[in-house]
């Protein structure tokens, strides 16, 4: 914990009910966050067993200075991904980081399987495994409503929960954190479901005296001002990430209709501007972030004659508008929000769910599967059918949806149609078809996410494409993000938290680290993650990329698989060099 030498780790064994708290003085070399979580995952995971074996852990961790500086607001979850079978790493905002720090824990390790549906209630030193039988089966939003009333800590509490998809172990089930944020990617929800854990509540009332007020507050104020008084964060607050919908489409980089096209003719109708004009009702923030990038959109739905309407509010972002909009050919903001509502309440990752349905649609068009299997005539733009299909998917309605719930890669391999199953190493792709750096970045990225190394951004910023330069940039970015993620800084603030700022923030709170030491920590963490991936049997050179990526032109033209291969090989060499370094 802050100002203390030891990292405080809470171990929860669901099988025996044993609760253990360890003060680990050996973990400071990983700083915190993804570093500590990687180490704890390495210590507790069992690579020889399937991802959903009861023995497998869920690790949550915050950073050394979580909650006391603007935008240091995230919590990292690490696990073996049931979707990809290898490294699972996901980040959520909301109140969780603050709640964990007030409960007094740097990290939590959850192992075993409960004997009956349960939820975990953490209130400082009091940790209980409680009966969740009456709330098992509930939608994600309703669970939250019940737990808010039955658990203490209003205003400084975080509630994690899964929906029906997590219970059914849909491999890309998500965990909802505080209504509007999620551990979305790579199937943490399925892992919770497999352990019969419906929810986790976290609260506490720990206080921490500031050691050097002057230094700390000076540093806090400087960062706060650069957040609120410069334009560094403005786009995230104003229109939010959805500002990119139209521009990415115009560049020819927006995967549309299962990436049969690289731009969406109706992009303007689902642009950030249109959402803001038609649906935006409020903005919210994660605790400790003055930006407020969470954009809440509202739509109303008629459910009966006699002017009977219900209103629904959900959070929207670029990735959701891509996967549940353009990718499915949907061109109305209300309808995109409706599909977001479906993934919210059932508890599925929005990107993976959208990609799965896009694959199902094309499979139906190509006659690879029949309507007897999909149960619905899925066609691009038909929201009503997609809404129903999301419910079928979360419930694993029949053999087809059972298979689709294993992930798009699995479904592609089972039914045929692998060539247009939009996934990389088992993870459904985010909304970019920018070029080589994106594709290579997704393949080599520790969790196959656009957030690993921002390949999409490298493609857009390199004036003239240079293979080696692109590979080096991807590598350096992934390495630097190991450091940012060890502090668990919101990556929207990556340009704000330069090395200089990070050092000032750390130094003002007693972490007397140097720039070189931060580099060493980043390398140590990246090496650890690469070793974890090796143990789980991953080799980027073995990844089979779907043909679709090479048939639909990217914003930088048609891509050649030979270039991708060369770049992956080069990147792998760089990883070997890192692993050979003595750190």
């Amino acid at each position: 914990m802050l100002y203390e030498k030891a990292t405080k780790v809470l171990y929860i064994d669901l099988a025996t009910g044993k609760i253990e708290i360890k003060q680990r003085t050996d973990l400071s070399i990983y700083l915190g966050g993804v570093g500590v979580a990687s180490k704890l995952l390495d210590e507790t995971m069992q690579p020889e067993l399937p991802p959903l074996s009861p023995e497998q852990p869920i690790v949550l961790a915050i950073g050394a200075i979580s909650g006391i500086y603007p935008l240091i607001t995230k919590t990292v979850a690490m696990f073996i991904s049931p979707l990809t079978g290898e490294l699972g790493e996901s980040y959520a905002g909301g109140r969780l980081a603050l709640a964990l720090s007030m409960a007094g824990y740097d990290a939590v390790v959850i192992r075993g399987k409960a004997s009956r549906p349960s939820y975990i209630a953490i209130d400082g030193g009091k940790v209980e495994i409680k009966d969740a039988r009456p709330i098992w089966g509930m939608d994600s939003d309703v669970v939250g409503q019940f737990l808010r009333d039955s658990e203490e800590g209003s205003g400084k509490r975080s509630i994690l929960r899964i929906g029906p998809a997590g219970e059914k172990m849909v491999k890309f089930a998500s965990v909802c954190v505080d209504t509007y944020r999620h551990f979305g990617r790579l199937g943490l929800g399925a892992l919770m479901g497999s352990k019969l854990v419906k929810a986790v509540t976290v609260t506490g009332d720990k206080t921490t005296e500031i050691k050097d007020f002057k230094e700390y507050f000076l540093s806090y104020q400087t960062i706060f001002k650069s957040v609120t008084e410069t334009d560094l964060m403005a786009k995230y607050h104003d229109l939010g990430t959805s500002i990119n919908v139209e521009s990415i489409s115009a560049l020819g980089a927006l995967p549309t209709k299962n990436l049969t096209a690289n731009h969406f003719d109706d992009a303007e109708q689902i642009s950030g501007e249109t959402f803001a004009e038609e649906n935006l009702v409020r903005k919210l923030a994660c605790t400790g972030c003055p930006v407020g990038c969470i954009h809440i959109g509202q739509f109303r739905r008629k459910f009966d004659d006699g002017y009977d309407y219900e209103s629904v509010s959900v959070a929207y972002d670029y990735e959701l508008i891509y996967s549940l909009g353009a990718l499915l050919g949907i061109s109305k903001t209300d309808e995109v929000l409706q599909l977001i509502e479906a993934v919210e309440k059932t508890g599925m990752d929005a990107i993976s769910a959208g990609v799965a349905l896009a694959w199902a649609t094309e499979s139906l068009i190509q006659g690879i599967v029949t309507e007897a299997e999909t149960l619905l005539p899925l066609t691009y733009g038909n929201t009503e059918n997609y809404y129903q299909a999301l419910l079928y998917l979360s419930a694993r309605k029949n053999a087809f949806y059972q298979a689709l719930g294993e992930g798009t890669r699995f479904a592609g391999a089972k039914f045929g149609g692998e060539g247009f199953a939009l996934q990389v190493a088992g993870n459904e792709i985010p909304g970019y078809h920018t070029g080589y750096a994106n594709l290579v970045g997704l393949t080599v990225g520790a969790r196959h996410s656009h957030l690993c190394n921002a390949g999409y951004s490298v493609d857009q910023s390199l004036k003239t494409f240079d293979e080696n330069k692109a590979v080096n940039t991807l590598f350096d970015e992934e390495l630097e993000r190991c450091l940012l993620n060890s502090l668990v800084i919101c990556l929207f603030a990556r340009k704000l938290y330069t090395r200089e700022t990070v050092l000032k923030a750390l130094n003002a709170t007693g972490y007397l680290l140097t720039d070189d030491e931060l580099t060493t920590i980043a390398k140590r963490i990246y090496s650890m993650k690469l070793r974890l991936k090796e143990k789980l049997g991953f080799d980027p050179r073995q990844v089979k990329l779907p043909q679709r990526f090479f048939k639909t032109p990217s914003m930088n033209g048609l891509l050649e698989s030979s270039v991708v291969e060369r770049m992956i090989n080069r990147y792998t060499e760089k990883c070997s060099e890192l692993l050979a370094e003595k750190i």
Binding site: L98, M102, G155, T179, Y216, F217, R282, T287, G288, G292
Partner: protein
């Protein structure tokens, strides 16, 4: 002389910057438990945010009336200032405040009372909190 007012809570994004800065500046603590202003949700995050903070009572001041030692000194513009020397930590002020805006610090055994310094308003990114002239 000025008083703090939570005037535009519809615009609150729930960032808690007010609480973080109040606790840091006034109590030299990182924990929002030490803040004199509290942001609460009514009905979860889908509901509105409310600020629980001193209402700057002026003529009738329940907390000062309840204080047996005269430790809560009335401010001219409204509200009170805490005289720590006189306070015996009886918590009567906490019970007396109708809007529950006085918090009891379990570490120091003294109440945490808003002194209307306005630091929270300075760090409010949406102008929900303002330090206003009395009667404004």
């Amino acid at each position: 002389m000025k008083v703090l007012r939570a005037i535009e809570m519809n615009r609150c994004i729930g960032c808690f910057s007010c609480m973080i800065t109040c606790a840091a500046v006034n109590q030299q603590d990182h924990s929002i438990m030490k803040s004199a202003i509290r942001i609460k949700t009514s009905g979860g995050l889908t509901g509105k945010f409310v600020a629980i903070v001193c209402q700057a009572c002026k003529d009738d001041v329940p907390c000062a009336e309840a204080c047996p030692t005269g430790a809560l000194v009335r401010r001219q513009a409204g509200g009170v200032l805490l005289d720590k020397e006189k306070c015996v930590g009886c918590e009567r002020c906490v019970a007396a405040c109708t809007v529950d805006a006085i918090y009891f610090d379990l570490d120091t055994k003294r109440p945490i009372v808003c002194k209307h310094c306005g630091v929270c308003a300075r760090f409010c990114p949406h102008g929900c909190l303002r330090l206003l002239e009395e009667g404004q």
